[in-house]
Every structure is written in structure tokens, then in C-alpha cells.
């Protein structure tokens, strides 16, 4: 350990040694932000859990359009991922890296820009998401100006981090640092390439990818956000704080090397397992599954190195609540990373996908692994950062038990709910008829489970509040001036050479020379050289991440036969575009999928399964990941009554007794901004959707004409009159269009004037044909 000396007694440094201090102030800031945002994010989680028990908690009938489930759900996920886990990760990185590298952070200024910039991003997310400003892609909802801020802050962080590596006084990088490097590199790549959008105004944009390609990019990002934001940095955290708290050596250096590199390379491939049975090509889905199964052992390598490091310290686990947090956290990591490969097997996924099983899975990981590792770290840091005793030591153990019971009460009923609903959806009676043809009966049966979840989530939140209060009370006991210990270490010297690799113990001889080389390789001591060269190490991580990505991305964007053209699929009308924007803004995608899988249980319920060619103009894709309500991919073929939709928006239980969908009275009352539609059509045209200049120029008139037509139908059905300017009309137009193109009669060259201005397809086949559809820009004129 480095020698300590207080500033007061600081004389000159010993010969050849440099003196330095650590920046713990920024760590204190990140820790405080972790616990504050943790409580906020979990509170929103409890609120949306209540909304699933009773829609009155959406408050929409009380006049609030900002608190519906569709808008708060992304707020919850973004808050717990980027605000709670994000700040915890940064606290861990800033505290441990300085000590593991024996240096202060490269720049105090950059550290502060990182901290304050990140908090500003969180606040802007908390403001924009309830306003319905969203890109609709999960965990990538933030609109483009915030995305730019995220990238800038991340660059600041990266410069600061690699600068710190450059000025380090420890020759070799410890395994925690490897995981931090992987986080910095991979998140930058993932975030940028999934968030490429075409702006259509200051706070509105469209993904540059469409349909199945967008879906692929989203889950390449989404899955690897789990990998490189919720796994690798937390493994880094584990590798520092767990051996520190346990005061035991790490179980296996070799295991660290192998599981690190296999995680970095294999994780990237696994994304398409979120898209089994969908309209992404089956080869991608198969690769996603196979690599997920391969990922099982690399993930368990982390669990083993965590749990086996505790050998010889298990007696302390019984008495030390911090170690308890870590043990349960690592155990949940092991469970989640076994369940992940299991869920990625296609036949299991056929049952689990779109159900609460996924929700239970992520919460086992989020509450158990991410949450408990963060809390364990916070409690370990508390006395060290604030240089005083923890204000309420007994609360730490209390938090552990409340939290653990909370996790169990959350995940067990939600696993049960997922299985129940999945099995009900696919249940046929002996006559081959759906046993539960009404979607709502597969939902209302889950309400008791949802009540238990509210209880479990509330308990977990109570634990987090205990932590927050404890942190604040400890902070209040801090000394007037923090002691800043001065450390001494020798700087790195030039011309360092690694010692030669230890020779193989295998016998000498020409036959076994190869075996001897293999033996030396398998000892993995050569890896020490990379650990001494951060630049080389970083480049290797980059190569791993990028090459694994390209193996799937290149065929995904070049194999045109994977996205068979459908002649009758045409772009949305301007009014339908506006309706789609409302669908995005209200977060409908959080509860409704638009992707019917090729299974009879789905086609009987929702209609013909979805084809890749139907989504070629879908910027962004809106396939969804959870069916809290029914699939809407073909809603246009079965709900052709505007009045039904109108009444359904006014009060969903009116048309669908038992529904837990929030009412949307504001859509019925508020006027649509027709003037903005042109900008949307223009942006989509720029992305390759085959609109003409006239479509852009006349977008508003075209939209008004179609709105009038729908309003007339609504009035004819004895609905309200004079509502052609309302937002609901646009949304109805969109919903009535959904899924109808596939079996549309083949259009004749001169289309009807009402939907004129749309390009008229002249091909003769309504069925998918093998044909060129690739990158968006060259899709026009089929």
C-alpha cells in the first residue's frame, strides 16, 4: 500500500518519489447524486407499478397528460440506468482508478464538467420525457440535442480517463481498469451509432434506419447498454470494492483475463436475441441466440471471481452488511446471466417474449446486481469519503433485509405473471381454438401479481430512502475540513521491459515443443505486456467491439434478400405521419407491440404475421418489447371504426372493460399542429422515404383533407362533430392504416385524390418478392 503522510507533516518527497493526492471531492458528488437519483428513479418505478394496478394513477382524467404510463416508463428506465447506475459507476471509477493507478485524475476541471454535465443531462431527460419528447427507442429515448450533450460529456470523461491512464504511477492495469476501459470505449460507439437521426425541428427527429435494420441497431445498442453500462463497469466496481471489503485476494487472475476478453467480444453479438421470431432475418436471430449461450460461462467467470474471492472471509459475511450486499448482488448477477442465455433460446423466447418474464429478468439484474453492488459500494465509501462514522450503522443491515425482501416480492410475482400470461396467450383448446381469445382476460388475471409488485417495489424504495437519509446524516457529521492524505510513489520510468515469460514445465523435446509453447500461452502471463500498455489495451478492446459488431452489421445492411419488397407497401400520408408522431410521443410503444410473430397463437389473435417489407418506411421501428396491451401491427384491418377509437381514447374501459390503458382526453380536446407536418414529411423524405416535393409542399392541405374525411366518418357513426382539427383524428388515421398495406388491392396508376400525392405503386404483386431493398436512400421507385 502507498505510504500516507498528512499535509501538515509533509516534507520533501523521498528520493525518486513523487507526492500526490486524490480527488475525493468529485467522488463525494457522484455518491450523493447516486442516492438522490436512485430514490427518484425508484419512486417513478413505484408510480408506474401503481398505474398497472389501476389506471387512475395515470392522472389523465385529472387533466395531466404528462404522467401517463407511456411517458413515465421511459423516465423510470432512464433515471435508474443513467442517473442511479450511471452516477454509481462514475463514483466507482473515480474513486478506484485514482488508487489503482496511483495518481490524481488527469484534470479536476474535466472531472467537474463530467459531473455537472451529467446531472444537467439527467435533469433535461426528466423534463423532456414527461413532455412526450422522445425518439421511441428503448434507453435511447432522449432527443437529439440531449444526445449531443451526452456525447460531449462522454468525450470529456474519456479524455479525463485516458489522460489519467497516461499519468499513472502503477505500471500495470488492474482488472477493474480493463472493465472501465471497455465501458468508455464501447458505450461511445454504441450510443453514437444507435442515435443517428434526422432532425425535424429542435426537439423532434427520425432514426436514419428503418424497420428491421433500425430494430437490429436498437437491440445491438440496447443489449450492449446492458453489457457495457450495467455489467462491465459493475464488474470493475466488484473487482475493486469486493476484495477491499473482504480483505481477500482475487480468486483467479487467469479467469479475469479469459472472462474479460470473452465478455467484450461475445456480448456484442447477442443483441438480436431481443428480436426472435420478428421480421429480422433468421440468421441474425440464430447468431444472437448462439452467442448468448456462449456468454453464459464468461459471465459466470465474473460471478466465480466474486464469490470465490470470499473464500476465507465467509464468516465475515454473516456480520458485515456491506459484504452481504455484495454477495447477494453477485449471486443475482449469476442468476441473471444464466437466465439471459436461457431466455435467448428461441423456443423459450417464444413463450417469454412480450411478457412480464422479461420485466422480472431485468429487475433481478437491476435490483439485485446493479442496485445492491451500488449500495454496498456507497456504504463502504461513506466513512472513507466523509471521514466520520456512518450516522446510522444499524440501518445498513436493515436496508439490506428490506431490499432483499423487496427484490423477492418484486420478481417472484412478476415471474408468475409472465408465465401466466405467456401460457394463456398460446393456449388452444382441443378444437384448435384460442382458449383466451379476449386479450383483456389475460391481463386482468395479473392484477393481484401487480399488487404484490407494488409492495415489493415500495420496500426496495424504502431501503433506498434509508440509504439516502443515512448518507445525508453522515455528510452532516463531516469534519469542517477534509483531511487530504498525501501519497508517495515513483513515476513510471522509460525503457521498462517485462520479465521473460515463465518457462513451460512440460519436458523438453522436439515433439512437445509446440505443446510447450501452447502451455506458456495458456498460462496467460503474456497478457501482462498488454496490461502495461493502455493504448494497446484500448485498441484491442476497440477491435474486439467493432469487429464483433461488423460481423452482423455488414450482412444486415447489405443482404437485400432479407428485406423482401412488398409492392403494396407505401409511405404513410401526412396525417398518418402526424398520428404516428403522437403514437411515439405518448409512448404507446411501451405497451403495444407492432410485430406479429409467425405462430398460430399470434396470427389467430392478431392476423397475418409481420413481414420485413412492411416496415421499410418505419423511422424509427415501433415493434415494442412488451405487450401490456394487444399487438397493433394489423389494428387497421380489424378496427375500422373511428368512433370506436374515439370512445376508446376518451375512456378505454368504455369499449374494453377491464382495460388498464390510461384515458387520453387531451388528444380529443387539443388541436393538431398541422403546420408542423411538412417538416416531418421533409425529414422522412431526406431519409429516403419516397415522398415527392409536392407531398412536402402540400403536406398540410393533404392532412386537412384526410382529417375532414375521418371526422365525417366519425360524425356519420353518430360520433362528435366538428373535430377534424383534433390530435385524436391523426392518431385514428394512423391506427386505421396500420397493417392494411399487405393485403391492399394493387393500386392502379391513378390513385384516388383523397390519398393522392402518395406515390402510386405500379407493380402487380401484393406478396413479398425477392427484390432489392437495402439502405434507405435507394429504396424509392419500386
Amino acid at each position: 500500500m502507498s505510504s500516507h503522510a498528512s499535509i501538515a507533516s509533509a516534507g520533501t518527497a523521498s528520493a525518486g518519489l513523487e507526492r500526490f493526492t486524490y480527488d475525493d471531492d468529485v467522488v463525494r458528488k457522484f455518491v450523493m447524486a447516486t442516492v438522490v437519483w436512485g430514490v427518484v428513479g425508484m419512486l417513478v418505478g413505484v408510480i408506474i407499478a401503481l398505474q398497472m394496478v389501476n389506471p387512475m394513477f395515470n392522472l389523465s382524467l385529472q387533466g395531466s397528460e404528462w404522467t401517463s404510463f407511456g411517458r413515465l416508463r421511459p423516465l423510470h428506465t432512464n433515471a435508474v440506468i443513467f442517473a442511479f447506475a450511471g452516477n454509481a459507476v462514475f463514483a466507482a471509477i473515480y474513486y478506484s482508478s485514482q488508487r489503482l493507478l496511483k495518481t490524481r485524475m488527469f484534470s479536476d476541471l474535466l472531472s467537474r464538467i463530467h459531473f455537472w454535465g451529467w446531472q444537467l443531462i439527467i435533469v433535461s431527460a426528466a423534463l423532456t420525457l414527461p413532455l412526450g419528447l422522445t425518439q421511441a427507442k428503448e434507453y435511447a429515448e432522449l432527443e437529439w440535442p440531449i444526445d449531443i450533450a451526452v456525447v460531449l460529456v462522454w468525450v470529456v470523461f474519456a479524455v479525463n480517463y485516458f489522460g489519467t491512464l497516461a499519468v499513472r504511477r502503477e505500471r500495470h492495469l488492474y482488472v477493474a481498469i480493463w472493465f472501465y476501459i471497455a465501458t468508455v470505449v464501447a458505450i461511445a460507439i454504441l450510443y453514437i451509432f444507435n442515435n443517428l437521426v434526422m432532425p425535424a425541428g429542435a426537439l423532434k427527429s427520425y432514426s436514419i434506419y428503418a424497420g428491421s435494420q433500425d430494430a437490429f441497431m436498437q437491440w445491438w445498442y440496447g443489449h450492449n447498454a446492458v453489457a457495457f453500462f450495467l455489467t462491465t463497469p459493475f464488474l470493475g466496481l466488484m473487482y475493486y470494492f469486493l476484495p477491499k471489503a473482504a480483505d481477500r485476494p482475487v480468486f483467479s487472475y487467469r479467469l479475469s483475463i479469459v472472462h474479460f476478453w470473452t465478455i467484450v467480444f461475445i456480448y456484442i453479438w447477442a443483441g438480436p436475441h431481443h428480436l426472435h421470431y420478428t421480421a429480422v432475418p433468421e440468421w441474425a436471430s440464430t447468431l444472437g441466440m448462439l452467442f448468448s449461450v456462449m456468454l453464459w460461462m464468461p459471465s459466470w467467470g465474473g460471478m466465480l471471481n466474486g464469490l470465490l474471492t470470499l473464500r476465507g472471509a465467509w464468516n465475515r459475511v454473516a456480520t458485515d452488511p456491506i459484504l452481504k450486499f455484495f454477495v447477494v448482488g453477485v449471486t443475482f448477477y449469476g442468476m441473471s446471466t444464466f437466465e439471459g442465455p436461457l431466455l435467448s433460446v428461441k423456443s423459450v423466447n417464444a413463450l417469454s417474449h412480450y411478457t412480464d418474464w422479461t420485466i422480472a429478468h431485468v429487475h433481478a439484474g437491476a435490483l439485485g446486481w446493479v442496485g445492491f453492488m451500488s449500495f454496498g459500494m456507497v456504504y463502504w465509501l461513506l466513512p472513507r469519503l466523509f471521514q466520520t462514522d456512518v450516522a446510522k450503522p444499524s440501518w445498513v443491515g436493515l436496508h439490506f433485509w428490506i431490499g432483499t425482501i423487496g427484490i423477492l416480492l418484486y420478481v417472484i410475482p412478476i415471474y408468475a405473471a409472465g408465465l401466466t400470461q405467456g401460457l394463456m396467450w398460446r393456449s388452444f383448446n382441443a378444437q384448435g381454438v384460442l382458449e383466451y381469445p379476449d386479450f383483456i382476460e389475460t391481463l386482468t388475471i395479473l392484477i393481484p401479481f401487480y399488487w404484490i409488485r407494488v409492495l415489493g417495489g415500495t420496500l426496495y424504495l424504502v431501503g433506498a430512502v434509508l440509504c439516502l437519509v443515512n448518507v445525508i446524516m453522515t455528510w452532516m457529521r463531516r469534519p469542517a475540513v477534509y483531511d487530504v492524505p498525501v501519497h508517495e510513489a515513483a513515476p513510471l520510468t522509460a525503457g521498462f521491459r517485462e520479465p521473460p515469460l515463465p518457462p513451460s514445465k512440460l519436458p523438453q523435446g522436439s515433439v512437445t515443443n509446440f505443446a510447450r509453447k501452447l502451455d506458456v500461452f495458456a498460462q496467460l502471463r503474456w497478457h501482462r505486456t498488454w496490461e502495461g500498455l493502455p493504448l494497446v489495451f484500448t485498441v484491442m478492446v476497440g477491435i474486439g467491439v467493432i469487429s464483433a459488431s461488423l460481423f452482423e452489421i455488414i450482412p444486415m445492411f447489405t443482404r437485400r434478400s432479407d428485406i423482401a419488397t412488398i409492392a403494396t407497401v407505401t409511405p404513410l400520408t401526412p396525417l398518418e405521419c402526424a398520428g404516428r408522431d403522437i403514437y411515439v410521443s405518448e409512448g404507446c410503444v411501451n405497451c403495444h407491440s407492432q410485430m406479429i410473430r409467425p405462430m398460430r397463437a399470434e396470427t389467430e389473435r392478431y392476423g397475418e404475421y409481420s413481414k420485413a417489407g412492411e416496415f421499410v418506411y418505419d423511422h424509427p421501428f415501433l415493434w415494442g418489447s412488451r405487450r401490456i396491451g394487444p399487438d397493433l401491427a394489423r389494428i387497421g384491418t380489424t378496427k375500422s371504426s373511428p368512433l370506436w377509437h374515439w370512445r376508446h381514447f376518451a375512456l378505454p374501459t368504455d369499449t374494453s372493460p377491464g382495460s388498464i390503458m390510461p384515458p387520453y382526453p387531451h388528444l380529443l380536446a387539443k388541436e393538431l399542429n398541422f403546420g408542423k407536418i411538412g417538416a416531418s414529411v421533409q425529414a422522412l423524405k431526406a431519409l429516403g422515404v419516397p415522398y415527392t416535393d409536392a407531398d412536402v409542399a402540400n403536406a398540410e392541405e393533404l392532412a386537412r383533407a384526410q382529417a375532414k374525411e375521418i371526422a365525417a366518418k366519425l360524425a356519420a357513426e353518430t360520433g362528435p362533430t366538428g373535430v377534424e382539427d383534433r390530435q385524436a383524428i391523426a392518431l385514428i388515421a394512423y391506427l386505421m392504416r396500420l397493417g392494411t398495406d399487405l393485403n391492399k388491392p394493387v393500386a392502379v396508376p391513378a390513385a384516388e385524390p383523397a390519398i393522392a400525392g402518395m406515390p402510386s405503386p405500379t407493380a402487380t404483386s401484393a406478396r413479398p418478392t425477392e427484390g432489392p431493398v437495402g439502405v434507405p436512400s435507394d429504396r424509392g421507385g419500386e
Binding site: P249, P298, G312, P437
Partner: protein
């Protein structure tokens, strides 16, 4: 802190590497044998799986789906035999309980949200009274379900369901006439002649024919 003495419970202390990061030491333990074995197994199994399903004879997801649809088609064909969408068939089909179940399920899943769970009408018209808008005969029910009523909110179910499924549905709907739903919408359209009397086909005893 840095120098760990072997704990008495450990059979033998493994090799401790010389590295020391802020007091953290590392053992040079080998990877567990079961761990490496399972890892290799998952890697080695991947290749054959991919080749079997994507370059070999393994069936695709769509193949499996087509097979599933074919099986159900066979069940329906066996149940219905060679039937036409004529008045006697439509009026009597759902007197057979297994077919009534099919018709009821289709109605519940697709029609109830507009026509009411018991057919009493909501946004769609009441199907239990004697007034009809586009229907004069039972065959018209089959036709309206198949083609929909463009512009009036009734979808074209013929695009969604097989002819046999529409037949089940039409039969179920025809037999809703005269039932007493819990809540009934006012009559729309005009009152039409009662359905013609047809000879009921031989049905299993205790059939669940709807009460008229």
C-alpha cells in the same frame, strides 16, 4: 493487510501473484475445469447448430408456422366436412357444441369490443334484435363478415380468417338473433323477416344450441 496468512480451513493456499494494486492481491488459480468445459461446449455446439438450421435441413420458423396452420386446417376440415355457406348450414352449424365453441371464441376475440360481449351492440349495431342494416338473409351475414362494410366501421374479416372460420362466426351471429343480452342498443336499420325454418342436422344429445 498485504500479507495474507493461509487460513486454517483452506487445504492449501494457491499461488499468490506479486501484483499489488492498492492492497488488492491476486491468486493465480487455474480456471475451474467444469467452467472451461461448459464454455468449450457452448462454443463447439454453435457451429453445427448454425449449419443445420441455416445451411442444412433444419426447418425454419416459417416452416414450423406453416405446419402449425396446416394442422389446424385439417382439424377444421375434419369437423366441418364439405360445407357451403348456405342458409341451412349457417343457421344450424353452431348447434354442435364443439363448433359453437369455435364461433364463440372468434366472436369474443374479434367482435365483442364493437358489438358487445353478448351481441347487444356498442359502437357496432345490436345483433340480437330483429332489425338489420345490411342483412336480409343468413347468407348476408356471411357476406358482410367476409367483405365488411366499407366506410361504416365493419372490417373485411375475409382477409383475416379462412372461409370455414367466417362460417363458424356467421353461424354464431345468426343464432344471436332473439337472445336477450344484458345491455341492448336501440334498433338500427329495418326489421327483417324471421330466419327461415330449417331442419336441424343430427346433433349430439344435450347440444348447447343457443336459446331462441
Amino acid at each position: 493487510m498485504a500479507n495474507q496468512t493461509p487460513t486454517p480451513t483452506a487445504p492449501r493456499e494457491p499461488v499468490l501473484l506479486s501484483s499489488n494494486y492498492d492492497g488488492i492481491r491476486e491468486y493465480d488459480n487455474p480456471m475451474p475445469f467444469w467452467w472451461t468445459s461448459i464454455f468449450w461446449l457452448t462454443i463447439l455446439a454453435a457451429g453445427p447448430y448454425f449449419f443445420f438450421y441455416h445451411l442444412g435441413v433444419g426447418s425454419s420458423l416459417n416452416d414450423n408456422y406453416e405446419a402449425e396452420v396446416g394442422e389446424y386446417g385439417a382439424i377444421l376440415a375434419a369437423q366441418l366436412g364439405d360445407v357451403e355457406a348456405d342458409t341451412p348450414t349457417i343457421l344450424t352449424l353452431v348447434e354442435r357444441p364443439e363448433l359453437r365453441m369455435g364461433g364463440a371464441a372468434l366472436f369474443k376475440g374479434n367482435c365483442a369490443t364493437c358489438h358487445g360481449p353478448e351481441g347487444g351492440g356498442l359502437t357496432g349495431p345490436n345483433l340480437t334484435d330483429d332489425a338489420y342494416i345490411n342483412v336480409k338473409t343468413p347468407e348476408d351475414i356471411f357476406r358482410v363478415i367476409t367483405n365488411g362494410v366499407p366506410g361504416k366501421g365493419m372490417p373485411e374479416w375475409g382477409k383475416r380468417f379462412s372461409k370455414q372460420q367466417v362460417l363458424l362466426l356467421a353461424s354464431y351471429v345468426a343464432n344471436l338473433r332473439g337472445t336477450k343480452p344484458g345491455s341492448a342498443k336501440e334498433a338500427q336499420g329495418s326489421v327483417i323477416e324471421p330466419w327461415p325454418k330449417v331442419e336441424a342436422p343430427a346433433t349430439p344429445s344435450g347440444s348447447a344450441a343457443p336459446t331462441k
